[in-house]
């Protein structure tokens, strides 16, 4: 059974295509000896420049095609072409510059392109890496299932804590009310919540547990167990949020970078034709 993903689509059709194109481009660049040195304005420079611009437009078109739900071809085919042509841009655009860089809009466009390609590579890594970890972490549950289970444990914990001393009750209440799963962007990305009230509650309960001067040892042990269970569930839920953010975060950069590149590229082309 041979299964096609965006990486090996049609037996690496687009990888093969760009390998040929890159070889030809490098060969041409090596053979080509323009009188003023290599730069974008030679005939080869124009060819490579137009090719790169065309590819950029094609890559941008992916954003459109992705939403044309009855468009031509398979989306995985388009993404396959997207990643390989995108990678090839690094070669075409670099050769196009002839290694002439400066502090100007032309180099800005180039820099954006490089950033975009690097960012895109991370995307491919993320797509191949995190989905499996997400399922491994969640098992048959969904995030909503975890949250429901946590809510149920919270309810149990509260009824238990009501019958225990006030200070314990207070910590448990705090853990129920103030435990955050998602949090701000940083917390989502790192999955770390240094002063998590649930972890704190578990810690306190463990310490208190040593001197059993409470009247309800059974209730106390049950509460401890509940909070422990909750702590692992919370950890799983946070891990889910973290994995998902790693899976998606790059795309929040990819699209703005792509738009920025489009703007810079337009400026670059306009500058060349009008202010020669």
């Amino acid at each position: 059974m041979d299964h096609q993903t965006f990486v090996n689509y049609k037996n690496y059709r687009y990888l093969k295509l760009i390998l040929w194109m890159v070889l030809v481009a490098i060969g041409a660049y090596a053979l080509h000896q323009p009188s003023f040195g290599a730069y974008g304005g030679t005939w080869l420079g124009y060819v490579l420049g137009s090719l790169s611009a065309a590819i950029v437009l094609l890559l941008l078109w992916f954003g459109i095609r992705k939403r044309q739900y009855n468009g031509i071809g398979q989306l995985k085919g388009w993404l396959s072409a997207h990643i390989y042509l995108g990678a090839a841009l690094l070669v075409f655009a670099t050769l196009h510059t002839g290694f002439q860089f400066g502090w100007n809009v032309h180099t800005l466009a180039y820099a954006l392109l490089v950033l975009l390609v690097i960012n895109g590579f991370y995307g491919v890594y993320a797509y191949l890496h995190f989905p499996r970890m997400i399922t491994e972490n969640l098992g048959d549950d969904s995030l909503q299932d975890l949250l429901n289970k946590i809510a149920e444990l919270d309810r149990l914990a509260r009824t238990h804590a009501l019958q225990l001393p006030d200070d314990i009750n207070a910590i448990v209440m705090k853990a129920c009310q103030e435990t955050k799963i998602g949090g701000n962007v940083l917390q989502q990305l790192t999955g770390r919540h240094p002063d998590c009230p649930t972890a704190a509650a578990v810690k306190v309960l463990r310490e208190y547990g040593h001197d059993l001067k409470f009247g309800h040892p059974k209730l106390y042990r049950e509460l401890y167990l509940i909070m422990l269970q909750k702590e692992t569930l919370v950890a799983r839920a946070r891990r889910d949020v973290m994995l998902r953010s790693h899976l998606e975060v790059w795309l929040y950069l990819h699209v703005p970078l792509a738009v920025a590149l489009l703007v810079a590229l337009t400026a670059h082309v306009t500058a060349i034709f009008f202010y020669w």
């Binding site: 993903t5 992705k66 044309q68 009855n70 995985k76 499996r132 997400i134 399922t135 899976l247």
Partner: protein
């Protein structure tokens, strides 16, 4: 509605008593009233047309079949439930129908002269003729405790939004009860009461929703609890007091309302108590009637849904006709014109009667049908005229029609349709019967050999016929048995040899998961799979490892016959499966006599051994014991095409769902997040296009069809009755508003100006009175490039496979991951 005559004083006498005021009963009563015949229309409920009144509020009631003219004094055309009922209420008064409400008929006794009807109230009514029109809904089960009929004790729920801030007790742990309780919980304090200790009669999805709601404290629930009585109280705050017996003792619950959803008693028992006979034990069987709708009890007529006519217009036409029949007047049935049109295809037939006679004479299979049955059969079938060389269907097509040859000869090609035909079929024979059984692709190609007239009947029509006519089923079974054997292994056998081989052959059914034989059992025969599929497995290192998967149209069990040893494998039905078993001795004898057969079985055996050796090691590690349990449990084996999502590369982007919604009127027919998971492969909630679609049974307008390529889809005659939603075990059909006026969101508007929703999102709320019809995956059969979900998955996580490919995929994935 007012009561037009007073009972109690002396037993009442009518010429015709009509029981049930649904469309059929109303139509009959209106016609009787119009003719001035003494009649009474008895209705169990407090309002006429109770079934229609129970439809969802604002439901658009359809007037299918469109081609059938309406023949009734009562009017009916497509319109909202409310408008139709209002019109009928008017017409009841206009014709002076003698309607009695709250009159549930419990007994019917035949006397020397006419009948005596006994009502639940204890009254009796005498009538010369009885028309039974009580539909199929059965009688709603009431609480059966004191206070069951108090106001605010109700047995249905039209619109959950009608109630607010009330304490409502819902009684009943079935789907309806749970659904009602869930729908009410947002605005009310709801207590659900279930007689059982668990919700055993409840769909998975409802159960999950219920558990969540209970956990979140949104409603309460009492298990193992029985209702004892309901009393009304003077208390303004809580007008009802419900007493229940819980495991802990009696509890009194003050409340505003009690909604009991206890199901209905199917009408069959009641009918049998009236002396009406059914042709078979099959729950779908319909009482046998004459062409004049008379049952086996003379003078007792049956019309409407109860007589097997599931649509309103048919029911109304019959109501009219039955009165004419009782009066002994010849009446041309409403479908006469339609039938005449059908027979026009046969040049030498001038009347419907002549046509029906011809069919009976030519086709022995249909000879025993009553006129009524044959007429219905013809209405749903088509006469097709073919020229020599025309193809009826091709091998591997997914068509499921059944054909009878009225005239001419057809050629049957088993493998090569360009070579010489393998055999012929002549006038009076039938073909396509395998489609009735397995729901798989056609195994042969059939072409007309001469000019032919064929009678083409839809699968559903044939199934209904075989359910009610045992003789028809026997005839088809006998022929199909021989053909199965011939196709599987007997192409080289002579007719006499074939006869010998199939003698004593048995059909046998197995439930999903049932073991057909165990490793080590004595070999009793060769097994041909007629429908369903079978997993062959072996114990390796103490674990059951699946070696192969035998689908309908193939055989298994040859190994032990050839090697002469006991069974070396275990065979287990992967889904409900039917097999034909050929006696071991006869097969062995045939192998000796016929070298072709021996060669064929041997080749098959060697191939199997090779296949098993090549896959065995991988499969062992693939934990396929679990895989088979999974396939069986989830019913994947009965699928023909399953959507899978490989979660190891699914980026959860939801593009598959968006694509489905965008190409299907804004409603996604798949749910990526739910559905069972096996080894990181999810089977999302989405139609699997079952071999035997459960959804198809009980669709009144027969709107669920299977296309030539195998997609199960719902066409535009759907009336939104929701039967299929209940019948699909995989919960993949939903009732959704379709609103052709609604435009899909525009991509460019959204992209450039941020206007409107993103494509694939909801295209705004449907307009208020948009009709709800059943929607499900149609595999994008109308899109040129195939399913949008798969085509729109950016990574290739979403794929569509057959069950066999599922196995391969799981194994391949395992080998990749290691």
């Amino acid at each position: 509605m007012k009561r037009l005559s007073h009972p109690a004083l002396k037993p009442e006498h009518y010429k015709i008593a009509i029981i049930g005021s649904g469309p059929s009963g109303l139509s009959a009563a209106a016609h009787a009233a119009e003719l001035g015949i003494s009649h009474i229309l008895l209705e169990a409920e407090q309002q006429p047309a109770h079934t229609i009144r129970k439809f969802q509020k604002g439901k658009l009631v359809m007037a299918e079949p469109r081609a059938l003219p309406l023949r009734s004094p009562m009017s009916f055309s497509m319109g909202s439930r409310e408008s139709i009922l209002a019109k009928w209420d008017e017409e009841i008064v206009k014709y002076g129908i003698n309607l009695r409400l709250g009159a549930q008929v419990c007994t019917i006794k035949r006397m020397a002269q006419g009948f005596v009807l006994g009502l639940a109230t204890g009254e009796t009514i005498h009538a010369e003729y009885v028309v039974l029109a009580i539909g199929l809904q059965g009688n709603i089960r009431k609480l059966n405790v004191p206070g069951e009929d108090l106001p605010r004790v109700q047995y249905q729920l039209d619109d959950p939004d009608e109630y607010e801030d009330e304490t409502i007790v819902v009684v009943g742990g079935g789907d309806t009860g749970v659904e009602n309780a869930l729908a009410l919980r947002h605005k009310n304090h709801v207590i659900l009461i279930n007689r059982f200790s668990e919700f055993v009669h409840c769909k998975e999805a409802n159960l999950a929703a219920l558990n969540t709601a209970l956990k979140q404290g949104e409603m309460e629930c009492r298990l193992s609890t029985y209702v004892e009585k309901v009393e009304s109280t003077p208390d303004k705050a809580y007008p009802l007091l419900l007493s229940v017996r819980t495991p802990e003792g009696t509890e009194h619950i003050p409340c505003h309302r009690v909604i009991a959803r206890l199901g209905a008693r199917p009408p069959r028992d009641l009918l049998e108590s009236f002396g009406i006979q059914f042709p078979s034990e099959d729950p779908a069987a319909v009482p046998q009637l004459t062409a004049r709708y008379e049952s086996n009890v003379p003078g007792l007529y049956i019309v409407g849904a109860l007589a097997g006519y599931p649509l309103i217009k048919q029911a109304m036409n019959q109501g009219y006709e039955v009165i004419e029949h009782i009066l002994g007047r010849p009446v041309e049935p409403a479908d006469e014109a339609l039938l005449r049109q059908k027979f026009a295809k046969i040049p030498y037939i001038n009347s419907v009667e002549q046509g029906l006679t011809l069919i009976r004479q030519r086709v022995p299979l249909l000879a025993t049908l009553s006129s009524l049955q044959l007429r219905d059969f013809m209405l749903e079938s088509d006469i097709v005229a073919l020229n020599p060389g025309d193809v009826v269907f091709r091998r591997n097509d997914y068509s499921t029609s059944f054909y009878c040859i009225i005239e001419g000869v057809v050629d049957v090609y088993v493998k090569d349709e360009n070579g010489p035909p393998n055999f012929h079929l002549y006038t009076g024979e039938f073909f396509g019967e395998m489609g009735l059984i397995s729901g798989r692709r056609r195994s042969t190609t059939i072409k007309a050999s001469s000019h032919c007239l064929l009678l083409e009947s839809p699968r559903q029509t044939m199934l209904r016929l075989t359910q009610s006519m045992v003789s028809v089923r026997r005839m088809i079974d006998a022929v199909s048995l021989k053909r199965t054997v011939q196709l599987h292994i007997g192409l080289s056998l002579s007719a006499a040899e074939l006869d010998y081989l199939v003698r004593n052959a048995k059909f046998r059914q197995y439930a999903a998961g049932e073991v057909i034989w165990h490793q080590g059992d004595k070999a009793d025969g060769l097994y041909l799979v007629r429908s369903g599929s079978v997993a062959i497995s072996r114990l390796i290192g103490g674990r059951e490892v699946v070696l192969s998967y035998v689908s309908a149209g193939n055989y298994f069990g040859e190994m032990a016959l050839i090697t002469g040893t006991p069974r070396q494998r275990t065979a287990r039905a992967a889904v409900n499966t039917e097999v034909v078993i050929l006696e071991a001795e006869r097969v062995a004898e045939m192998m000796e006599r016929n070298p072709d057969l021996l060669r064929q079985l041997n080749a098959r055996y060697l191939e199997n051994v090779r296949h098993e050796l090549s896959d065995e090691i991988v499969q062992t590690s693939a934990d396929s014991g679990n895989l088979i349990a999974f396939l069986v449990q989830q019913g994947i084996g009965e699928a023909t095409d399953v959507l899978l999502i490989d979660e190891t590369i699914c980026t959860r982007c939801d593009n598959c769902e968006k694509a489905c919604a965008a190409t299907h009127d804004g409603t996604s027919r798949l749910d990526r997040k739910t559905g069972p998971v096996f080894d990181q492969i999810r089977v999302p909630s989405s139609c699997r296009h079952c071999e035997h679609p459960h959804c198809m049974k009980d669709c009144p307008p027969d709107a669920i069809r299977r296309s030539v390529d195998g997609e199960v889809f719902i066409n535009d005659t759907c009336i939104g009755c929701g039967n299929c939603v209940v019948n699909c075990p995989y919960d993949v059909i939903q009732l959704a508003s379709v609103d052709s006026g609604r435009k899909p969101p525009s991509l460019w508007q959204w992209l450039l100006f941020g206007r409107g929703p993103e494509p694939g999102g909801r295209a705004g709320a449907p307009s208020q009175n948009a009709t709800k019809i059943a929607v499900k995956c149609d595999m994008c059969k109308d899109l040129a490039d195939g399913p949008a979900c798969v085509r729109s998955c950016p990574t290739g996580a979403a794929i569509r496979v057959s069950p066999q490919e599922f196995l391969d995929y799981a194994v391949w994935r395992k080998s990749k991951v290691g």
